[in-house]
Amino acid sequence: MEMIHIIFLIFLGGAVLTYFSGKISKVLQDIFFLASVLVPAYLFFAYVGAGREATLSLGGITLIWGVNHFSWLFSLIVLGLGSMAAIYAIGYMKGKKRKGYFYFNFILSIMAMMGILLSIDLISFFIFWEIMTWSSYLVTIYNGHDIQRIGIKYFVFSAIGAYAMLMAIVIVHHLTGSFLMSSMINFYPNMSLSMQIWIPVMFLLAFGVKAAMMPLHVWAPDAYSNAPMAYTSIFSGALSKMGIYGMVIVLVTMINQIPQGFWFREVIAWLGGITAAIGTLWAIKQDDAKKLLAYSSVAQLGYIITGIAIGTELGMLAGLFLAVMHALFKGTLFMVTGAIEKQTGTTNFNEVTGLIRKMPWTFIAALLSIIALAGIPPLGGFVGKWMLYESLITSNHYLLVIVIFFSSTAAFLYCYKFLFGFFLGQEEKEWAHVKEAPAVMVVPMLIMAVMMFVLGTFPGIILKPINSGLMDLGFVDSFKHLWESSVILNVWGNHVVLQPILYWIIGIFVFFMIFLTWKGFKTTRYVSTKDISSSGEVPADDENLTFSVGFMQPFMRAVAPAMRRQIDKYYNGIADGLESLFEFIRRIYTGNGQTYTIYVIVFVVIVLLFKNILF
C-alpha cells in the first residue's frame, strides 16, 4: 500500500469519522477534523515525492495516482491553504449548527482536490472533479437561504463543464484506447483537426467553469459569497485553482502543439482579461464584503487565466505565481470577512464600520492582503502583476495589457472600499462591544499575511517550484538560474531587484514614522471619530456620519454603460425559455387515457409509414 493510498484513506475515513463523532462530542469532532486535514498534509509533504505512483483497479479501469512537480506546486496551495482554513474553521464554526456536515464536505473537498492533482489517468481525474463539485456545492448551500438559485446555478454550470470533460475523456479513450493523460497527450498531434480543436475546447469548458472564466463565471459570485467563509477561503483560493491547473495542462501539453493554438490562446487570454475587467467593475458596486470579494476573486482569476493563456514562459510564471498569491491573499481576506461576520453578525459595509481599534490583528491581516491584492510593492501581489504586464507587453498584447491595467487600477477602489467599510470610518456605538476574533482564527490569517510579505521580496521561493513544475510539463526553461534570488526579470532583460527596494521602503517608512512619532505620539491623545471638524461643528454621539452608501457612486456613473448588460440576465432568459418549453412538453401527458391510446396508434402508424426508411 502506497502512501498515496493511505492519504486518501485518512481523508475518507476522517471525513466519515468527523461526521459521526459530532454525535458524541464536539471537541472530539474538532480534533478529528483537524487531524484528518493536517495529518495527510504532513504525510504528503514528508513522504510523497515526485515519481511515486499508486494504482487502483476499478471496474476494469486502472486508476493511477502520482505526483510530479507541477501537481506538487498545486498541492502546496491546496494543503497549505487547506490546513490554514481548517484551523480557522475550528474557530469559525464554533457554536454553529451542522458542523459535521460542514466538516465532512470540507475534508472531502480537500481530498477531491488532492485527488485531481494526483490523478495521472483521466477517469480518476473526472471522479475527483465531480466529488469536488458536489462537496463544494453542499457547502455552498450550507446556509440554506436563497439556495434555489445559487447552488443550482453553481452545480449546473459545473455539471455542464464536467460533462463536456467527460465527453472529451471518452472520445480520447475511443481514439487512443487508454484513459491515461500521457497517452492522450502523445496521441494529440495525430488526431484529426476537428478533434484537435474540440477536445481542448471541451476540457477548457470544464476548467473555465471552475476558474470562473468570462461567460461561465456567473455562478461564482453567488456561490463564493454564500458558502461559509471558512470554506470560501479554500473555495476561492484553492478550488478555483483546479480550473487553472487543468487549463495549464491543456494549454501546455495540447494546444501549444498545434498551429491553431495561437487563436485558442488569444481567445482565452482575452476572455481572462474581460473577466478581470467585469469582475472588478462588479466588485466595486457591491455593498456586501462577501460579494465584493467574490467578484474580486473572479477578477483575479481573470488575471491568472490571461497569464497562463499567453503561453510564454513569463506569462505562465506570472499566472501561476498569481495563483499562489491569490490563494494566500484571497484566503486571508475571506477569513477576515468570516471573522468579522462571526464577531458582528453581518458583512454589509453599510452596517459595520470602524472596527480597526476593536480588531487590530484582523485589520493588519486585511491590510497586508489588500496591499498584496492591489499589487502594490513590496508585497507578493506585485511580483505577479509585474510579471503579467511584462509578459503581456513582451508578447505583443498591447490592448490586453490596457484592459488588465484598467481592471487592476480599478481594483484599488474596491480594495479601499473593503478596508474603509469594515475598519475605518466612524466608530458607532452599535459595534462598541465587538472583540477581536479568537486566536485560532487570527493566527492563520497572520501566518498567511507573513507569507505574502516574504514572497513579495523573495519570490524565488515559489518561482523555483513553479519553474520545475513547468519543466515537468515540457516547457523549455530559459532563465532558470535567476529564480534563486529576489530578482524578477523579463525577456528583454529588464528587471526589478526586490531586496534593496524592500530595505529602502522599510527605511523610509521607519524614518518618517519616527519623525512623526518623535515627541509626538505620547503627548497627543486619541480622540473618538466623533471629534471631527464637520463644517466647524462637532457631531453628536448618536449622529451617524458614516459614509458608506453609494460609496463609489461617481465611478459607477462613469462606467454605467459597461454594466448595463448583465450576462446573468441572458442565462436567466435561456433558463426561463427552457422551463416554458419543458412545461409545454409536460402537457403532452394530457391525463386522458384515450389520448394516450391515440398516441399509441399514431406511433404505430408513423413507424409503419416510415418503415422502409427506418429498417
Binding site: I598, I601, V602, V604, V605, L608, L609
Partner: protein
C-alpha cells in the same frame, strides 16, 4: 375533429394490418416452404405418444401446458385483482343489485335447469381430451349455471370460502401435478401416468387430471367474479 383524426389513423393502421394478413393468405398453406411447422409434430405426437384424440387439448394441456398454467394464473389474478379493487372495508358485501324480481316460472325453471347445466359442465371438462371442449369450456358452463341461479334468486348465495378453497385446491393440483412430473421425469408437467388407449376416457396420462382441475378452477373463479360484481350496489363514496 378528433373523430376524423382517429378514423384516418385507424384506416392507415387497418390498411397495413389487413395488407399484411392478406399477404399471408387465408385457408391455404402459408408456412414458408421447406420448414416443418410445429403443428405437424403436434398432430403426429398427440396420437403417437399422448394418446389424446383432441389435438387442441393436447396442445393446451401438454405441449404448451405451461401457457395454460399461466392462463389459469391470469384468471386467478384477475379474480384477486377484482376482489382487491372492489374491496370494501368492514368486510361486508354490498347490497345486491336487483332490477326486477324474477317470476316463479324463472325461479323454478332455473332450479330445474341448474343440475343439468352443472352436469353438462362436468361432462365437457371430463371429456376434454376426447371431444371438443375442455376445462375452460366446462368451467364456463358451470359458472353460467351459477349465474342463472344468481339471477333467478335474489338471495342466492355462494360461500366465498368454498369458492376460494376450490380455486386454491385446483390450482395446487395443476402446479402439483406439474411438479410431480418434474420429480418423476425431470421436466415440469411431464407425463408420468400411463397414457392408455386413444379415444378411451382414461387415457392421455395427466391431461384429464389437469383439465379437470382447470375446469373446477375456472368454474369457481368465474362464479366468484360474477358474485363479486353482482354485489356492488350502494356506497357511492368508495
Amino acid at each position: 375533429m378528433k373523430k376524423v383524426l382517429v378514423i384516418l389513423l385507424l384506416a392507415t393502421l387497418g390498411y397495413y394490418v389487413a395488407g399484411t394478413y392478406f399477404d399471408i393468405g387465408f385457408g391455404q398453406p402459408h408456412f414458408i416452404k421447406g420448414l416443418l411447422p410445429v403443428k405437424d409434430i403436434y398432430l403426429a405426437q398427440t396420437v403417437k405418444s399422448l394418446k389424446v384424440s383432441n389435438a387442441v387439448t393436447s396442445i393446451v394441456v401438454n405441449f404448451r401446458g405451461f401457457d395454460t398454467l399461466g392462463e389459469v394464473t391470469v384468471l386467478f389474478l384477475a379474480v384477486t385483482a377484482l376482489g382487491s379493487i372492489l374491496y370494501k372495508k368492514m368486510n361486508v358485501l354490498g347490497e345486491r343489485s336487483v332490477l326486477f324480481s324474477s317470476s316463479s316460472i324463472v325461479t323454478s325453471g332455473s332450479k330445474l335447469l341448474f343440475p343439468a347445466i352443472i352436469l353438462l359442465g362436468f361432462y365437457v371438462f371430463i371429456h376434454g381430451h376426447l371431444s371438443p371442449g375442455g376445462g375452460f369450456q366446462g368451467g364456463v358452463i358451470i359458472a353460467s349455471g351459477f349465474l342463472l341461479m344468481l339471477l333467478a334468486y335474489e338471495n342466492y348465495s355462494v360461500s366465498h370460502t368454498a369458492l376460494s378453497v376450490v380455486e386454491s385446491l385446483a390450482g395446487i393440483t395443476f402446479a402439483g401435478v406439474g411438479l410431480l412430473g418434474f420429480m418423476h421425469g425431470g421436466t415440469f408437467l411431464q407425463n408420468f401416468l400411463p397414457t392408455g388407449v386413444l379415444n378411451h376416457l382414461f387415457s392421455g396420462g395427466i391431461i384429464p387430471i389437469i383439465y379437470i382441475a382447470v375446469g373446477f378452477k375456472v368454474g369457481a373463479e368465474l362464479t366468484g367474479v360474477i358474485y363479486t360484481v353482482l354485489h356492488e350496489k350502494g356506497e357511492s363514496n368508495g
